[in-house]
């Protein structure tokens, strides 16, 4: 029991179980295969980002530009494919390069200026939002880019990012597999590699880890690039699934990523947390969001319920962590 309590994701697991049981009892559809496909899909898109954001938070930094980045990458891909007639695969590669460059810039600025990442990425959040809107309008005369379906390479790229697979006669989106895959990779890196150790070290105490030879600057820049990569993945899934993207997409989602990571046991101050926890945090989010719809509750109260639930989850987490810290001593 004491060993279990030390794990950062244990609070989130209990919360997830609670939400799962609650909506399974209250509603009919929630526990069905079709129901699972729905809330898993919602959780997967949030979860891919939450896992990357969790790694960054364990490393002691924030990325407020993460939400808008999902729109930026989708816009770059869509503009290149529909306006310049690029093959979708090539467009995806260019937008990946763009995303990694923005991530590296974020990281470099944070390390170079010594400003809090909260401020730096708030700046890139606003800048990207402006670019998304300005460039989209300049090029298309509208604030949406659509028409991806007729671009070359759409179908094969769509197969990788936006196809569905059948389980028991129900279609599941492939984004769920991406989510699981990304979580497994992130968790392995975090728990089993030297780089993972570095992340914990620089998030807990950047100065002393620098002193023992951890490449702090390079590691943090890599973490920002990981977030940007996840944003590219989500943006690509979105654009290939819906074939159109609106310039104001993604705004406000950055907070959901952070919330999911926090529910999953990440500390806002860095140095503690887990990738699996963040994925479970996203799962709670998805289950609650869709569970409310299945329950047929008046959607006006939706945000209130979410807020209360999140607060409860974090409080439970906090309690468990305090206990864990007592156990450690």
């Amino acid at each position: 029991m004491d060993q279990l309590v030390k794990r950062p994701e244990i609070g989130a697991m209990l919360g997830a179980l609670l939400v799962f049981v609650f909506f399974s009892v209250v509603t009919e559809q929630f526990l069905s295969v079709g129901g699972a496909a729905t809330w898993l899909d919602d959780a997967s898109m949030l979860g891919i980002m939450a896992v990357a954001v969790a790694l960054l938070m364990i490393g002691g930094e924030f990325d407020l530009s993460a939400g808008v980045m999902t729109a930026s990458t989708a816009l770059v891909t869509a503009l290149l494919a529909t306006q310049l007639g690029l093959n979708v695969w090539l467009a995806l590669l260019v937008s990946l390069a763009f995303a990694l460059a923005v991530g590296a810039l974020n990281g470099w600025l944070v390390m170079r200026t010594g400003l809090p990442s909260f401020i730096v990425t708030l700046g890139s959040f606003l800048a990207l939002q402006g670019l998304n809107l300005g460039i989209t309008r300049l090029v298309t005369g509208s604030v949406q880019v659509s028409g991806m379906r007729s671009a070359a390479g759409y179908e094969s790229a769509g197969f990788l990012f936006a196809s569905t697979f059948q389980v028991g006669g129900t279609s599941f989106y492939v984004s769920i597999i991406w989510w699981v895959l990304f979580t497994v990779i992130a968790s392995t890196v975090l728990m089993r590699t030297r780089f993972g150790n570095w992340i914990f070290a620089i998030g807990g105490a950047a100065q002393s880890s620098r002193a023992v030879g951890v490449p702090v600057v390079r590691s943090k820049i890599l973490l920002f690039m990981t977030t940007a990569f996840a944003a590219w993945l989500v943006g690509s899934i979105n654009i290939l699934r819906y074939a159109s993207v609106q310039a104001n997409q993604g705004i406000g989602l950055e907070f959901q990523y952070i919330i999911a990571a926090v529910i999953g046991g990440c500390l806002l101050t860095g140095g503690f947390g887990s990738a699996v926890g963040a994925a479970i945090g996203a799962l709670i989010f998805g289950m609650a969001r869709q569970g409310i719809v299945y329950a047929g509750w008046n959607s006006d109260w939706f945000q209130l319920f979410l807020g209360v639930m999140l607060l409860a989850a974090v409080l439970v987490n906090n309690m468990l962590r305090r206990r864990a810290e007592r156990v450690r001593r």
Binding site: T38, L46, G67, L133, T164, R241, Y242, L253, S299
Partner: protein
């Protein structure tokens, strides 16, 4: 370097102070044309269009294009500003009054918050035309005319059309919490449809959430056979939700984009309610120009309606051409 920065900041501050002095409640002399360096009018009429649309909204983009097109064609200087916050929108109106523009076009999503500002504009002798929403208060505030679509009428017509298509239970998807126009559309649909209509709240910035939530609703209530989206992006998400839930429901939507046009062609979307908002940008500029040159007015005190028009299989090809250019 630093001292230069201080000087620059000082100059900026002085400029702000000067501007503040100008915007005091004095502007009765509206005849005077001002020729200061901040004006960028191409003709001698300057029109300020001030809406409540948020930046990045496809709908308002078309309104802006309409106003700018009219400005170019008539040689009227058109500036477009928008702010979703009613207080900030009121300040934009005050700002236009202090610049002594020749006409103000304003959308009134929240009429009461704009009352004082609009009345001050009218007092200053600036003709005001309201657009899009707020027709009930337009004349009361002293506006010259209102150009728009009655949201409840549009909703009602959409409801009637869905009923005629044989639908029995409707889902009305609201994508912006707290937007009164969207609620009016759903209420209108309710009265036009006659049958059961349920509202569903989604978040426009998260397409996965929109799709999942509509899908969840369809799964939990098999009786729903019609989805009314109030935004073209939501319509596309709804269509894929219907596929995912293997539901028999059909989508109808407000407003157009290229994807909706294609979905209408393929029969995935039944019809789109088109309020032809290009006209809501274009017509007020024409009306202000006519008023200035010829003292003409339009509408006879009643709102000038730009919709609802409907786009369905019968006329979609023609409309598609214009939607591509961001004018429909």
């Amino acid at each position: 370097m630093k001292s230069r920065l201080v000087i620059r900041a000082g100059v900026a501050l002085a400029g702000v102070a000067l501007l503040a002095a100008c915007s005091g409640p004095t502007g009765t002399n509206s005849q005077q044309t001002n020729n200061n360096s901040s004006s960028q009018a191409s003709g001698d009429l300057k029109v300020s269009v001030i809406t409540h649309g948020t930046a990045g909204d496809a709908f308002w983009s078309v309104v802006k294009v309409g106003a700018e097109d009219a400005g170019k064609q008539l040689g009227v200087g058109v500036t477009y500003n928008s702010d979703g916050d009613p207080g900030a929108q009121a300040k934009l109106i005050d700002n236009a009054v202090s610049q002594k523009v020749g006409g103000i076009v304003v959308s009134m999503a929240n009429p009461d918050a704009l009352k004082t500002s609009i009345e001050n504009a009218v007092k200053a002798g600036i003709p005001v035309i309201t657009i899009n929403s707020g027709s009930a208060k337009s004349a009361e505030f002293g506006a010259m005319a209102h150009v728009g679509q009655e949201e409840s009428i549009a909703g009602e017509e959409a409801g009637k059309k869905l009923k005629a298509a044989g639908k029995t239970k409707l889902l009305c998807v609201i994508h912006e919490a707290g937007n009164s126009g969207l609620n009016q559309r759903c209420d209108g649909a309710r009265s036009g449809f006659g049958g059961a209509v349920e509202n569903l709240q989604v978040d426009i910035s998260n397409p996965t959430d929109i799709e999942a939530r509509i899908k969840a609703k369809l799964q939990s209530d098999a009786a729903v056979d019609g989805v009314l989206a109030l935004n073209p992006q939501v319509a596309v998400n709804a269509a894929s939700a219907i596929k995912g839930a293997s539901s028999k429901a059909q989508v109808a939507t407000f407003d157009l984009n290229a994807d909706v046009v294609n979905s209408i062609k393929s029969g995935e979307v039944l019809f789109a309610v088109d309020q032809q908002q290009y006209q809501q940008g274009y017509l007020p500029v024409v009306m202000l120009k006519l008023f200035k040159d010829n003292a003409n007015t339009l509408g006879g005190g009643k709102p000038v309606l730009t919709g609802p028009g409907f786009v369905d299989k019968s006329n979609v090809d023609k409309v598609a051409e214009y939607a591509k250019n961001g004018k429909r």
